[in-house]
Amino acid sequence: MTALTMPARPDADGDASPRPIPWRRMAGVTWRQHRAALASVAVLLGALAVWLWRMGVPLHQAYAAAVACHPAASAACQDLVGGFNSSADGHFMGSKGPGGVLLQVLPALIGAFVGAPVLARELETGTFRFAWTQGFVRWRWALGKLVLLAVVLAVATAAFGALVAWYFQPYGGASPQVPGLFENSPFGDLFSLREVTFPAWTVAAFAIAALAGMLIRRVVPAIVATLAVYAGLAFATAGLLREHYLTPLVTTAVSLPGASTAWVIGQWSTLNGRFAYAGDPPLNLVNQYCGSNSGAKGGPPGAVFTQCLAPHGYVQWTSYQPTSRLWPFQWIEGGWLLALSALLIAVTVWLVQRRAA
């Protein structure tokens, strides 16, 4: 076999530090290496989007019809409201259906599935010896790849988050003239699936997965580790962290301003300016003052006791996050998640540059 001879090298440049190769070249490289994963994500989100859209349109129509109906107290209008409520209530993707909870795993799955192989696959198959000895320089290779993939994921999941928020809108819609319509707080389970939080959680999962892949060096264990860390972070955020983003408002009003879509953080009562009890009143107080038939009229369940204890000097306090804080809360959560992701990506890139082969 004969070998081709090569034309002379353009110039034997011995200069100390050549101009870096343009970043944009990573776009084609990243696409070729990760198109299968990105295409899978696109198909998954696309199929879910079509499904949500097809269910969402009649849902919105039924809701709009119930709200627009006049007079609201008429039998025909009550039928519309009842129809909307019953159709939505038992629904898989209803306000109490399992669908919304299942959507919670999407950011973790997408992030782990795309992020874990970025470095773990290279280390698993030995191709890092190829990638890290090219002229592009390995820390730039890692940074370019991770940032590109994170941006693509963020854009795709932001669009999907907007669709999810749109779909669940009727369940959260508070309508004073149509009592009985769903009035779910936007701070509930679906808070992390909205326009800002959905992409932020996805990018966080991606960054966790990339770092896990770099540390564990194998794809499947890195995915498992990512899901575990993500679950811990998500539960800690929902259970402990989120309510402290802004100082809660405190009121003594029995029915909260901003209707029932506000997020109640805590309730406690005082007697003569001193703390009496937290939450529901103790049984002995109820027996002493409220009797068997307190005669209180309607209102939320806890309000019954509050009303019969009020004449005896007990004041109930409620700390809550008003519905108007939805967007500040979205940006606060999105902001710290993106900062965390940036930090994790920086650590990953640093590890790539300093790791011994």
């Binding site: 090569m6 990573m26 084609g28 002229g135």
Partner: protein, 242 residues
């Protein structure tokens, strides 16, 4: 100019020294063979030279004083690692695209012509190529970068005799026609006999002997590289190299 200069170079993994007290100057324009039994430290020395791993002691520079792993060094060195790692799911054409994108220089016409000549179809996934073809693809990608130094780690260990011959022919052609310096490691001596002009013998993490092949043969009174290596390594190591 020296393609590799190492001074007191050492690499420790945990408590074991894979390479120690390595002081070496490999001149440019040679085909240098790094020969020694498995575990002698050959791969470690090559990883240090291409900047994949940082030294635990001493220092190594390449191509006239460039720090190993620096942008200037990466720019001018092409490395083909052991078992020629390629992205198995990418087509040959995509491998060319990736390599071209990641380097300042890439001789696309050379790569295309070379793969045509080898009968490697551009649309085939690189994982579906034969072992010999994968090695040739990796070598072609490396040479198309027009490196000043080509580093090959055990390039022919996994190849059958015909593929070995073809592979070394390509390496030699590049060295002869374009003046590419070549540094390759091997524990197989037979294929190196014809091509090597500079020899580095290693065992147990140390460089035992280094020099021009002609000089070494004359000084040690041996007729061939294989005899020289066998005699020398038998004296210094309990294992026998093949």
């Amino acid at each position: 100019m020296n393609v590799i200069e190492a001074g007191g170079l050492g690499k420790r993994y945990g408590r074991t020294w894979a390479l120690r007290e390595c002081t070496l100057e490999i001149p440019a324009g040679r085909v240098t063979a790094l020969v020694g039994p498995n575990g002698a430290g050959k791969t470690t020395l090559l990883n240090l030279a291409v900047g994949l791993t940082p030294p635990s002691a001493g220092a190594v520079t390449v191509l006239g004083g460039r720090r190993a792993g620096s942008p200037a060094a990466l720019d001018a060195i092409a490395f083909v690692a052991q078992d020629t790692p390629l992205y198995k799911t990418l087509s040959v054409a995509d491998m060319i695209y990736v390599t071209r994108s990641l380097n300042r220089r890439f001789d696309q016409p050379y790569a295309k012509a070379r793969l045509d000549e080898l009968g490697i179809p551009p649309k085939r996934k690189s994982g579906k190529l034969s072992g010999g073809q994968q090695a040739q693809l990796a070598l072609t990608l490396a040479l198309a970068r027009r490196p000043q130094l080509l580093v090959l780690d055990e390039p022919v260990a996994a190849l059958d005799p015909v593929a070995r011959h073809d592979f070394m022919a390509t390496v030699l052609a590049a060295a002869a026609a374009d003046g590419v310096s070549v540094l390759l490691s091997s524990h197989v001596l037979t294929e190196l006999e014809r091509v090597t002009s500079y020899l580095v013998l290693m065992s147990r993490g140390r460089v035992q002997l280094a020099g021009e092949v002609g000089d070494l043969l004359a000084a040690h009174g041996q007729a061939s590289l294989e005899e020289l290596a066998m005699t020398y390594l038998r004296e210094t190591t309990p294992e026998v190299t093949r």
